[in-house]
Amino acid sequence: MFDLDRWREIFQTLSKNKLRTILSGFTIAFAILLFTLLFGIGNGLKHFFEREFAGDATNSVYISAGITTKPYKGLQSGRRIQFKNNDTKFINEKFEDDIQFFSPNIQRFNVLTIYKGEQNRYTVRGVYPDYLPLESAEIQEGRFLSVLDLKRKAKVVAIGRMVEKDLFGNLSAMGKNLNIEGISYKVIGVFSDPGGDGDERFIYTPFTTAQGMYRDNDELDYFGLTYNPKLNVDEALSFSNLLTKMLKEKHSVDPRDQGALRVRNYAEGAKNVQQFIMVLNIIILFIGIGTLIAGVIGISNIMVYIVKERTKELGIRKALGATPSSIIGMIMMESIFVTAIAGYFGLMLGVFVLKSIGKGLEQYFIVNPSVETYVVVGATIVLIIAGTIAGYIPATRAARIKPIEALNDE
C-alpha cells in the first residue's frame, strides 16, 4: 500500500508548486482554525453556565423568612416572620415523602477565625449532616458533621478547602483546633465544593451547637432541602408551591404576600439552563459543520482549478503511460495529504490560540475554552474524508481528459 515512489512524486509536485500548495492548504487550515475557535468558545460558554449553576444540587429548594407586606387575619403588615424549631419539625413531618435531604440553617457572617496567628473572617453555618449533599459539596479529608455531633452539640467544624489553605497553608487542618470568636472547635473534615472559592470559604458546625452559641432561643435563619429526585420539574414546582402555601398558613401570612416567605426552587432555573445549553450546543454544531462544509467546498474549488491548470501536465503523463487510476490516485493523495496536514496545522493553531487567550475571556462569560479529544479526532477524520471528497471529483475528471485534448491545451 505504501508506495514510496508515489509519495516522492507527490512531494515533488507539492513542493515545486509552493504557491498552489500554500493557497489550498491555507483555505483548509483557516476553516479548521475557525471551527476550532468557534467550538472552543462555545464550549467555554457552556463551561461558564455549567459552573455558575453547578454550585448547588439542581433539585434544591431554599426557604427563607422576611417581613410581611400585606395585613392578614387582623395582623398588620410589616411583621417579621421568624422560623423556629417547630417549623423544622412541621416540614419534616408534612413532606417526608417528597424530601430527600433537609436541613435548617443558622448563618453568621464575618466570624473571626484564628489558627496560631493566622486569622480571617468566614461565614459560619450551623446545619444538619444532610447539608453536605445540598451544597453538592464533597468531603476531601475526614468526615462531615454527624447526627451524634448534633445530639452532643459537639464543638466540631467541617471547613472548606480554601479555609484550610488560608489558615494552614500547605499543612493539614485535620484534628487541629480552630479559635472561632474565642471558642475552640476541632476540625473534623475538609470539603471541596464545585461552586467555587466562595463556597469553599464556609465553616460548618452542628446546627444545635450554632443555635446554642448564636441564638438565645429556638430561632433559626432558613431551610435548605432537596426534593425527591424522582419528581419531574412540574411535580417539583407543585411540591414547592404546596410547601409555601402551608408555611404561609402556619405563620398567618396572606397567600398573595411575596415578601414574608421566600422559596427559591432551582428546578425551573435548572430546566432553563439545560435548555439554554442544549440550544447553544446545537448552534455550535451548526456553525462548526457550516465552517467545515465551507472549507470542503473551498478546497474542492481549488482542486478543480488545480486540475484545470495541470490539464497539460496530466495529458503528458497519460501520453507517457499513466493509467487513469494512477492519475486519480495521484490527485486524491495530494488532496488528502494537503487537507490532513493543513487541517492538523489549523487545529493545533486553534488549540494553541484557545490556550493562550482562554484565561482572559472569563469576563466575557467564557471559561476554559477548549476542544475535547474526541472533537479533535472527529475533525481529523472529517478532514480526511473532506480531502477525499474534494479530490475525488476533480481527479475523476482529470482521469477522463483525453490525452490528445490535454496536449493541445495551451
Binding site: 515533488q12 501536465e313 497519460k318 501520453a319 507517457l320 503511460g321 493509467t323 494512477s326 496536449l407
Partner: protein
C-alpha cells in the same frame, strides 16, 4: 510494425461530422524512417494521434506490432503507449517543474521501475542525446533544441517499438532542426521505427519514405533515394 487498413475517422461538429481520414491504407515495417507530409487540415495529426493510441479510429483496422487495436479502454491504451510508443511533440511537452533527468525518467516510473534503475537508464539516454551535463536543469533553463533532445531521450527511454514525432522541428530554427533530424536519423539507423509528421519539405526529405496526405487520403507514397546516396 504499423499496419493500417481502410482507416476512417470523423469528428462530430455540432449536427454534422467532419470526415478527417477517408480510408487510409498504410504499412510501415520495422526500422523504417517515415515522414507524413501534408498541409494543415490534411489529417496528418489525426493519423498520428490514432497511431499513437491517443485517439480512436471509427472504421478499419489498425495493427500495432502485430496486435489488433480495437475498443481499447484507457488503461490498456496507457499500458500499450508506455510499452510500445515514444512521443516527441512540437511543443516539447516537458513537465515544467521537473528537471531534465526526471522528465526522461517519468515513463519508467509508469512502467513501475524502481527509482535507482530509472535514474541510471534516464542518465544513459540523456548522455545519448548529448545532454548528460544538463541533467539537473529545468526545462526553462534549456534552449529549444536542448528541450527537444530531452523529449527525444524521454521517448526512447522505455526502448519502444515506434517513436512518433509530431512536427518535432516546428518550434526550432533551421540549424537546430537539422541537429534534431540527425538525431532521429541515428535512432532509425539503430533499428527503431520512426514516424515523423511534418509540413516542411526539407525535413521530409531527410527521411527514408515520404507519405503525402491531402484531405484525408494518401496521394503519394514514395521512398527517397537518399539512402542510396549515403
Amino acid at each position: 510494425m504499423i499496419k493500417l487498413q481502410n482507416l476512417h475517422k470523423s469528428y462530430p461538429m455540432g449536427k454534422d461530422s467532419l470526415h478527417v481520414l477517408k480510408g487510409l491504407d498504410l504499412h510501415i515495417k520495422e526500422g523504417e524512417f517515415v515522414s507524413i507530409m501534408g498541409s494543415s487540415g490534411s489529417g496528418k495529426s489525426t493519423l498520428l494521434n490514432i497511431v499513437g493510441l491517443l485517439d480512436e479510429h471509427d472504421e478499419g483496422t489498425y495493427h500495432l506490432n502485430g496486435q489488433l487495436i480495437e475498443k481499447l479502454d484507457e488503461k490498456k491504451a496507457a499500458i500499450l503507449r508506455n510499452r510500445f510508443l515514444g512521443f516527441v511533440f512540437q511543443s516539447f511537452n516537458l513537465i515544467t517543474y521537473k528537471n531534465a533527468l526526471e522528465n526522461v525518467a517519468l515513463p519508467l516510473y509508469y512502467k513501475g521501475m524502481n527509482r535507482k534503475e530509472r535514474q541510471k537508464i534516464a542518465l544513459k539516454y540523456l548522455d545519448k542525446v548529448g545532454l548528460k551535463d544538463r541533467a539537473e536543469h529545468l526545462p526553462s533553463e534549456l534552449s529549444g533544441g536542448e528541450k527537444q533532445r530531452v523529449a527525444i531521450a524521454r521517448a526512447l527511454v522505455t526502448n519502444p517499438k515506434v517513436v512518433l514525432a509530431d512536427e518535432p522541428t516546428g518550434a526550432l530554427d533551421s540549424s537546430t532542426s537539422h541537429a534534431v533530424m540527425e538525431l532521429l536519423k541515428e535512432i532509425s539507423r539503430e533499428g527503431m521505427t520512426v514516424f515523423v509528421i511534418t509540413h516542411e519539405e526539407d525535413i521530409a526529405a531527410g527521411t527514408d519514405r515520404i507519405v503525402r496526405l491531402l484531405d484525408g487520403v494518401i496521394t503519394s507514397d514514395e521512398k527517397t533515394n537518399k539512402k542510396v546516396k549515403v
